[in-house]
C-alpha cells in the first residue's frame, strides 16, 4: 500500500507538538504491511517553510535530515508534465477552492495512481480525486 503525504501531514508526522501528530503516527503504524509513503518535492518545500516559520531554522534542518535518512518516505519530483497538469488544474473552475500546492498533490496522486492520501489540510483536494481515501480515519472508519 502506498500513501501520499502532503505538506500538512509531513508537519504532523515530524512535530510531536503538532495537534495531528498522534493521529498521523498511529494511523500509519496500524497499517500492515507498513505502507510506502510518497510525497512531492513541492510538498517538501512547503513543509520545510512551515517548520521554519513555526520553530525556526534548526527545526527545519532537523526535518530535512530526517527526510534524507528516511527509508519509508520517497520523494516524487514534479516534472514538467506534472507541473503542467497542476497548472491546468489550478486554472480550472473545479479547483477554485485549492491552492497551487494542493493542485500539485492532486496531479501527483492521479499520475501515480495512489488510493490513499494523508492530509490535515482543510482544503478539499483529496475529495477532488474519485476513490481517493483520506487518512487518518476515525475509529468508525469515516473520514475525518
Amino acid at each position: 500500500m502506498r500513501v501520499f503525504i502532503d505538506a500538512s501531514a509531513l508537519l504532523a508526522l515530524a512535530d510531536p507538538g503538532n495537534d495531528g501528530h498522534h493521529a498521523a503516527v498511529q494511523s500509519l503504524r496500524r497499517l500492515d504491511p507498513p505502507p510506502a509513503l510518497i510525497t512531492t518535492d513541492f510538498a517538501l518545500a512547503e513543509a520545510l517553510a512551515g517548520m521554519h516559520a513555526r520553530h525556526g531554522r534548526p527545526a527545519a534542518e532537523s526535518l530535512q535530515r530526517s527526510i534524507s535518512a528516511s527509508r519509508a518516505l520517497r520523494v516524487a519530483h514534479v516534472d514538467p508534465d506534472l507541473f503542467r497538469a497542476a497548472w491546468n488544474l489550478y486554472a480550472s473552475p473545479d479547483c477554485a477552492a485549492l491552492d497551487f500546492g494542493d493542485c500539485t498533490s492532486l496531479a501527483a496522486v492521479r499520475a501515480l495512481g495512489l488510493r490513499h492520501a494523508m492530509t490535515f489540510s482543510t482544503s478539499p483536494w483529496v475529495e477532488a480525486v474519485a476513490g481517493l481515501r483520506r487518512l487518518p480515519v476515525t475509529a468508525a472508519g469515516a473520514p475525518r
Binding site: 504491511p33 507498513p34 530526517s66
Partner: protein, 158 residues
C-alpha cells in the same frame, strides 16, 4: 499526463494472473502495470519491516513522541482542562473584594497612602536599579514562579 504506447513481453502465467487480478478489481490490465511501474520508479513498496517502519526518522524529526500532557508547550500545566486560578474565581473572592463600600479607608483616601508611596526618593534600591531584574529576583512578596518569563515557543523541542 501524456502516455506513450509500448509493447512488453511477459510470460503466459503472469499474463493470466494479471488478467485475473484486473477483472477481480474492476480495473484494466494496463492500469495495474502502470501502477507497478510507478511503484518501482518511486521506490514503491520498500518492504520495510514493521519495526523498521516504526523507527523511521520521519516520525522523530523533532524528537521522540510524547504523551499529550508532557508536550513542551504544556510545560508547567499538565492537566487536561483550563488552568484554574482560585484568585480569579469570583465564587471564591471575599465579600470585601466584591463590595467597594467595604474597602478600607486607606484604599479610598490618597492622603492616607504612605510616605514611601508618594516620595520617589524613598523608593528602595531594588526599585531604582534596573540591573536587579525582577525576573531573576522576584522579591520577597512574589509567589514561586510568578516572575518567570513565559516558556518560549518550541522551547525544549530542540
Amino acid at each position: 499526463m501524456q502516455f506513450i504506447t509500448t509493447n512488453i513481453r511477459i510470460n503466459r502465467s503472469a499474463h493470466r494472473k494479471l488478467r485475473y487480478m484486473a477483472a477481480e478489481r474492476g480495473r484494466s490490465m494496463a492500469e495495474l502495470v502502470r501502477e507497478a511501474v510507478d511503484e518501482f520508479l518511486t521506490g514503491g513498496d520498500m518492504g520495510l519491516a514493521a519495526t523498521e517502519f516504526r523507527g523511521d526518522p520521519i516520525f522523530f524529526a523533532l524528537g521522540p513522541d510524547r504523551p499529550q500532557a508532557l508536550r513542551p508547550r504544556d510545560k508547567g500545566w499538565r492537566g487536561t482542562g483550563p488552568r484554574h486560578d482560585p484568585d480569579r474565581d469570583p465564587a471564591r473572592s471575599s465579600a470585601r473584594d466584591r463590595d467597594p463600600a467595604r474597602s478600607s479607608a486607606r484604599d479610598r483616601d490618597p492622603a492616607r497612602s504612605s510616605a514611601r508611596d508618594r516620595d520617589p526618593a524613598r523608593s528602595s534600591a531594588r526599585d531604582r536599579d534596573p540591573a536587579r531584574d525582577p525576573a531573576r529576583d522576584p522579591g520577597p512578596g512574589a509567589r514561586a514562579g510568578e516572575a518567570v518569563a513565559a516558556p518560549r515557543l518550541g522551547g525544549g523541542l530542540l
